[in-house]
């Protein structure tokens, strides 16, 4: 039965993780890195998306991992371990941002009224950005740049839902907002990113790059 096979396959990975958690709780602290290692890139990405700075993001991710270690007994297994880690990282990164009063630096989009529908700006036929182009650093940089141009409240929702693959409810819980607010912001974030990345929209591409003058890297 395929259903059983899939369940077993999943249960095995989950079982290994549960076992590791139990062993760390029982005193084998050295195994904790092994527990978080599969998720370190996701934790860093989450922190980076909120703080928009490499060294701050690394500090926040490290601190979040330490807090997770110290509070491992509080993890009840109600959500995935990775989701719990991401939620701690979100809290840590947001706390740091508040401390540094970085909200002042937020783009103007952040202060826009959330009510009312977002009207797309660019209607030219979409030129596909193939996933393979993510191997190229300049493409990744441009995508990250576009993401960083979003206001914090849109960026956070987009990162948790579309990049970290949390559910609407998990995203809402992580950010302390309602599910309907998640949906509204997510829609806006997606449409704004589409506009920022749409071909022919001038000014969003760094003039230092070869493809800035009308051509795209994909």
């Amino acid at each position: 039965m395929p259903a059983e096979a899939a369940s077993q396959e999943n249960a095995r990975g989950q079982h290994e993780e549960d076992l590791l958690i139990q062993r760390v709780r029982n005193g084998e602290h050295e195994l904790f890195y092994q527990l978080v290692q599969p998720y370190e890139r996701r934790l860093y990405a989450t922190a980076y998306s909120i703080l928009r700075n490499e060294s701050d993001a690394e500090d926040a991710a490290q601190e979040a991992v330490l807090k997770a270690f110290k509070n491992l007994r509080q993890f009840r297994g109600e959500s995935r371990f990775s989701t719990w880690l991401i939620q701690i990282t979100v809290n840590e990164a947001r706390m740091r941002r508040r401390k540094e009063h970085a909200e002042i630096m937020e783009p103007i989009a952040d202060s826009r009224d959330e009510e009312g529908n977002y009207v797309p700006r660019d209607f030219a036929d979409w030129r596909e950005i193939p996933s393979e182009t993510l191997e190229r650093k300049e493409v990744r940089e441009q995508l990250i740049k576009a993401l960083q141009d979003l206001g914090a409240k849109y960026r956070e929702v987009f990162v948790l839902r579309d990049m970290q693959h949390l559910s609407i409810e998990q995203t809402a819980k992580s950010l302390g907002i309602s599910s309907s607010a998640v949906k509204t912001r997510l829609l806006r974030a997606r449409l704004m990113l589409r506009d920022l990345l749409a071909p022919g929209l001038g000014g969003n591409w760094s003039s230092k790059l070869s493809f800035a003058k009308g051509t795209k890297p994909w």
Binding site: S7, E58, F123, I168, R190
Partner: protein
């Protein structure tokens, strides 16, 4: 039902996530057939979700893992006694060997499993955005607890996932797997009709 451009923009997220009732889906698809602008909005939004959902988006800074390990070591309660150290080393070795063996067993039996043992879905909207993991064999909606989260995640459309041999998750996309079972009994008509309907209305997609 007739929808306007504004309705399409408002529903584009729900449409791509398959969280929309069939009547509205059909109306939007009818609109899309005649509206190049809305098709550009839909194509772009789908592409945005797809590229940003790829784990390759972010690279860890060089040395990140080593620094994290060091930080953890510095902040962990110290234990004394070589006997314990040896026990830890032994336990780690056992775990490593066990996971290696498990991994080997899994990988040796997996390559053909994705297609041979997967039950194909029925009526999954082909344009719906789903998540797959590199080594998994099923596709999921975001947040599904059956998602393998450390295997290199990607976002793609259900149609693409199916073409790559992935099948709907037995948990989060169960409703698309039930259809086949129920249809076999021939007693309940709805799922069969739903599947046929989905196939018909989604013809315009590809």
């Amino acid at each position: 039902m007739v929808v306007k451009c504004e309705d399409v923009w408002r529903e584009v997220s729900n449409y791509l996530e398959g969280d929309i009732d069939p009547g509205l889906r059909a109306a939007i698809e009818e609109h899309l057939r005649g509206c190049r602008h809305c098709m550009a909005v839909l194509d772009g939004t789908r592409n945005v979700i797809q590229v940003y959902g790829d784990e390759r988006m972010y690279e860890l800074p060089a040395g990140f893992s080593q620094r994290l390990q060091k930080k953890l070591e510095e902040n962990m309660p110290r234990r004394r006694g070589t006997a314990f150290g040896w026990m830890v080393a032994f336990a780690t070795a056992v775990l490593l060997v066990a996971s290696f063996e498990l991994g080997r067993a899994a990988s040796s039996s997996r390559p053909q499993l994705r297609t041979e043992h997967s039950q194909p879905g029925s009526g999954v909207p082909s344009g719906m955005m789903v998540i797959v993991s590199e080594k998994g064999k099923t596709f999921h909606v975001p947040g599904c607890t059956f998602l393998h989260e450390n295997d290199g995640l990607r976002t793609l459309t259900a149609g693409e996932a199916e073409r790559e041999g992935y099948a709907p998750c037995v948990r989060c996309l169960r409703k698309y797997l039930k259809t086949k079972t129920i249809a076999c009994k021939g007693s309940i008509r709805y799922p069969v009709e739903e599947a046929a309907y989905q196939t018909a209305v989604l013809d315009g997609w590809n």
